[in-house]
């Protein structure tokens, strides 16, 4: 009862932080300003007040959060402001002079309200307050510890850049900017989360992206009125087109090169402070099956690997259901010898194929979950023990048939072949209803389930762009990067759906015919 009574009304305005500070201007007296700020930062023991005396004999105070590298504060702020320069005998300095002459920090901005000061201190900036000044200086002087740039573990490649995003937004923006040295790469910042004030950057390539798409992104992000954004997943769920779809409509990546490549195709990216994952949209099914390396390796091997991935996508989704259907309903489709082998293996098993498959798949998922959650060394041990228990002991004990172990193992491997982790999760999820359909209706059930999935995929949109584009709706030119990836010299246009305003990617100058000098023409010229 109490919980219901205390439950806030969800349709009302979103919760806002308590009114401990507001947009008041700074006081003339430094003590008054500090008193107000101390009230705002009550019980915030990590806020450091560093009072000192300016060389013109005025009182001053630095405010910043502890935990960072304060070398720059000492060297670039305190030292020049406390040591009286030779020849200075004038009265109090103006804030302009202090900022231009004595502070050796480029990123310095003026602040006039208490609210701005509180926000800046919370944003890891150093605030300089000086007595009798109605303005404060906000300085980017502290370096806080952050993770070094490393190769993303979830998207590792053999050929291609090995740098990945970190949790620091500025570092991530720089990484993308280093890929696209153009002022057309636009970066718009927003702050989301009434408590977290998470900085979010919208990245797009002007002149390539559809302007309506950028407007739509801004609108969708603007609607977010949540208390905190701690990871990209919050935003993904708050802005995707169809929240009830099992398929992801926004792609995430840890790789700056992937972000750059999608920006070049007229898509937008969101970089969020505090997470190494960038969000990108609009996406389609084929993008979910593409690996970054597809575009770096030569197209022959790329195509072979893509076809293997699509084959194993089918396996990951359907193999357990097909096994259930053919062993329970449609035995006639199997070759006689295979049927006899399966029948022999299942001769002593106590459970129906559906129950067997379900228990094995759930055990496999549990093993995988345990392997992910535990430390790496322990996780490997769990995997080995699990494999031994499932693969060996369960079969020898006659609880599980050997073909089912093969089916579950192949299915597990197949789901690892899908490059995009969030898409693989969808396939893993859909496998279970497909197994129920196969266990109740056989092949008919599988076809029915497949049709439902296909119809859903046809109707699905990612920021208004069809999920099966360019297959449905059909666009012949877009097929160059779907199931097959044509060589780069043949990809002369960008995807139509996302780059309508600037479709040309490159001219024909690098096609095989244009690439090499023509011997006949040379000979003719030489003869003349």
């Amino acid at each position: 009862m109490n919980s219901q009574q205390n439950k806030p009304a969800t349709d009302e305005a979103p919760p806002t932080p308590g009114p401990t500070y507001c947009a008041l201007p700074l006081y003339q007296e430094l003590e008054d300003t500090l008193a107000s700020l101390k009230k705002a930062f009550v019980n915030c023991s990590d806020v450091i007040y560093r009072p000192f005396c300016l060389f013109d004999n005025r009182a001053a105070c630095l405010l910043y959060l502890q935990g960072g590298d304060s070398h720059s504060v000492d060297a670039d702020i305190l030292a020049p402001l406390t040591m009286k320069p030779a020849g200075h005998d004038a009265g109090p300095l103006s804030l302009d002079d202090i900022q231009r002459t004595y502070i050796h920090i480029a990123d310095a901005t003026r602040r006039t309200t208490l609210q701005d000061i509180v926000s800046d201190v919370m944003a890891f900036r150093v605030v300089l307050l000086i007595a009798f000044e109605r303005e404060a200086l906000s300085l980017n002087a502290m370096k806080y510890p952050q993770r070094a740039i490393a190769e993303p573990e979830t998207e590792s490649v053999i050929r291609g850049p090995h740098a990945g995003f970190t949790e620091d937004l500025d570092t991530n923006v720089v990484q993308v900017r280093r890929k696209l040295h153009t002022p057309d790469l636009k970066i718009e910042y927003m702050e989301l989360g009434s408590y977290s004030h998470t900085k979010v950057a919208i990245l797009y390539l002007e002149g390539v992206v559809n302007p309506n798409l950028v407007t739509e992104v801004r609108e969708r992000l603007g609607r977010i009125q949540i208390d905190g954004i701690l990871e990209s997943g919050y935003i993904e769920e708050l802005i995707e087109d169809t929240p009830y779809s099992p398929f992801p409509q926004i792609q995430n990546t840890e790789r700056p090169d992937v972000v750059a490549s999608l920006l070049l195709e007229g898509r937008f990216a969101l970089l969020i402070d505090g997470t190494p994952l960038a969000l990108m949209a609009p996406i389609n099914l084929w993008g979910a099956m593409a690996s970054p390396e597809d575009y770096y390796e030569r197209f022959f091997i790329t195509n072979l690997l893509r076809w293997i991935r699509y084959l194993f996508l089918f396996v990951a989704l359907f193999l357990p259901s097909i096994y259930i259907a053919v062993t329970t309903f449609n035995q006639e489709v199997l070759p006689t010898n295979l049927l006899l082998s399966i029948a022999a293996a299942r001769e002593n098993t106590p459970f129906p194929a559906l129950v067997e498959a379900f228990s094995m798949e759930i055990t496999f998922e549990a093993l995988r979950e345990a392997g992910v959650r535990l430390p790496k060394t322990v996780g490997q041990a769990v995997s080995i023990v699990g494999a031994l228990v499932i693969g060996q002991a369960a079969v020898q004990a006659g609880i599980i048939s050997a073909p089912m172990v093969i089916v579950v193992s192949v299915t597990g491997i197949a789901s690892f072949c899908i490059p995009r982790f969030n898409f693989a999760i969808s396939i893993r999820l859909l496998r279970f209803p497909m197994m129920i359909l196969a266990g109740t209706l056989g092949a008919f059930g599988i076809f029915m389930g497949s049709l439902v999935i296909l119809a859903h995929l046809c109707a699905l949109r990612s920021f208004g762009s069809p999920y099966l584009m360019p297959l449905a709706p059909f666009s012949a030119s877009g097929l160059k990067d779907t199931v097959v990836r044509v060589p780069w010299w043949a990809m002369r246009s960008r995807p139509y759906q996302t780059s309508k305003i600037n479709i040309a990617r490159q001219p024909q100058s690098t096609t095989p015919k244009q690439r090499l000098p023509r011997p006949s023409r040379q000979n003719n010229q030489g003869g003349a």
Binding site: A344, E347, I436
Partner: protein, 404 residues
Amino acid sequence: MHRVPKIAFSRWLSVCLLPLFCTGCADATEVNRLAIVAMSGFDLVTPKSPASLTLATVQIARPSQLGGPETPSPAGSMKGFLLESGTGINVGAAFSDIQRQTSRRFYLSHRDATVVGEDYARHGISSLIDETLRNPQSRTRTFLLTAYHTQASHILSIPYGLNRLPSAAVVEMQESGEILPVDVKQFAQDMMGPGDPYTMGILPMLGIHEKNKYTFDIRHIAVYQKDHLVGWLSLNESSGFLFIMGRLRQDLMAVHLPGVPGTVSCTLLVLHTVKTIRVVRGKPQLTIETYIEDDIIENGTPLNFHEVVNTNQVRLVIQRNVAERMRACLSALQQRYDADCLGSGRLLYEHYPQVWRKIEPQWRSVFKTMPITVTVHCQIRRGGQVGPPIRPQSPTADWLPAHG
């Protein structure tokens, strides 16, 4: 706050629940609850009685004996299968009788071969053919064989040395290219068409090394008039029939050359037979042209087969030999059995439909007297890897080698 629309939710719920009410679950049978029939056989319980019951015998595979690396292979023994028999007034009733005796669900979809006993075949097998075509569980690609002078149940009781299931051996023999595979679908088409059907014969044989142990072989051609057996072609006639049908892919022929000591063996490379029918003065005439290409693989003669003159001798002998076999076969079909297993009736129907309609009622008598011309062309492609003969030349040879 957005809520899931009630209509959409009820739709999804109904879609999820509907499969549970479908009949699918009732049809489900786990694979280890099936009695997988590998081969079936049909006989008459009392062959001399016109109203005899049908005796059905089935080979049910024993999966527990057939799969797994630890299980020793049951090839050559009866461990791999279980024989069950049942009787009834027709095929379905006999199957039903077997089902009553079997704990598992009778499963016909993997039946590789069906053997009909000679008595049953002479009685007529239209009921069996109809069951195979009509029953959705049966498959029409089941090979059909006729037991040569014996009962089908006897054939089904014989294990095969190389295969775990005798049915697998039957399938491999049928697909070897040395005989003419006939399945139920083809038999039914021939039976219901203008011609007559045929099947291969299957016969039990005593093993050479194990005297009391039977094995089986597929030989001879069973000649049918529509649905009942009328007789058998001898081995020589059967060989001619295979050449006439032109579907042989493997054959080995050993021949004597006139006036030359020793024998020559040739293996078949290409066989192409063209049957054409013409109507002359209202009467059909059949022409059979056969083209053969052979390789010499054994030379027991003193001839050098790199000499064209010598290979010509082989060529002519093969031509004559094959033509004789074909004529013997044609004679048996036309004179002895009155059965058009050659497909000449179908040819006439396809090329001269109006003539066919006129002579259809008396087709058997027309077929009996129909002139058939046989032409055989033979080519020797290679004389073997070794040029000169290995056989030592006798100084007292009473024959003269040809010189090219």
